[in-house]
Amino acid sequence: MSGSPERRNEAEAPRRGASVSAKSRLAGALAGIVNGLFGGGGGIPLLLLLTKWARLEEKAAFATCIAVILPLCAVSAAVYLLRGAVPLADALPYLAGGLVGGAAGGMLFRRVPEVWLRHIFALFLLYGAWRYLSPAR
């Protein structure tokens, strides 16, 4: 990861905008590394950094994470495709379902309580932790 000079003194940065922008760059970089290594999951460090460090509103952070992860996924997906690891035909039914679910989720987002979002998200993290930490594959 290349160091960014703006990160120095950011605790004392007088202009909040510049500081948030530097935090966003670092958060994005970390998300990219996780996404590239694991084929997903980059949104996790991103969400944590955007809410707890850059202090975004929670729903804005969840939605903004999607916008940041989308191009990362596009890049990672291109690499996977070039390596021939993804038969496109097998992926199509998942993509069709994703379009339907993505639209439904987008419409419902305003009405979902934040505590639901947080708890469902945390449950997935716990499940992932168990899966990655358990010795049996």
Partner: protein, 122 residues
């Protein structure tokens, strides 16, 4: 038919969670590897492809509803994309299993930090 139906339904369910940004990809990976027997590497690739239309359509709604922080997104996308590219290329050269345990620990800490967050929920 069932060969199409389950992936479609899992994709739709995961799509809702992906649109909310809370783990649709994890759900889909679990469904594929644990329930449908898809090979891990292929599942990861499908998962990445899945996110493109799913996130794309959800972002149309988020933008309309004012949930997108464009400044943050613009700042994060370039370093994120470059690092994703570098890490994906790097990961093809090595045994990714060595990252499993550290990532698991990170997930555990992340969930604890969210569940223990004392901020009042609206």
């Amino acid at each position: 038919m069932t060969g199409w139906l389950l992936p479609f339904l899992f994709g739709a369910a995961a799509g809702v969670l992906s649109a909310w940004g809370i783990g649709g990809g994890t759900l889909l990976l679990l469904c594929m590897t644990l329930l449908l027997g898809v090979d891990q590497a292929e599942a990861q690739g499908i998962n990445l492809l899945f996110f493109l239309p799913t996130a794309g359509v959800s972002l149309l709604f988020h933008k309309k509803n004012g949930y997108l922080d464009k400044g943050v997104a613009k700042a994060a996308i370039l370093p994120g994309t470059l690092c994703a590219l570098a890490a994906a290329l790097f990961s093809s050269l090595i045994d990714r299993d060595i990252f499993r345990k550290p990532f698991g620990v990170f997930l555990l800490l992340a969930s604890a930090s969210i569940l223990l967050d004392k901020r009042v929920s609206q």
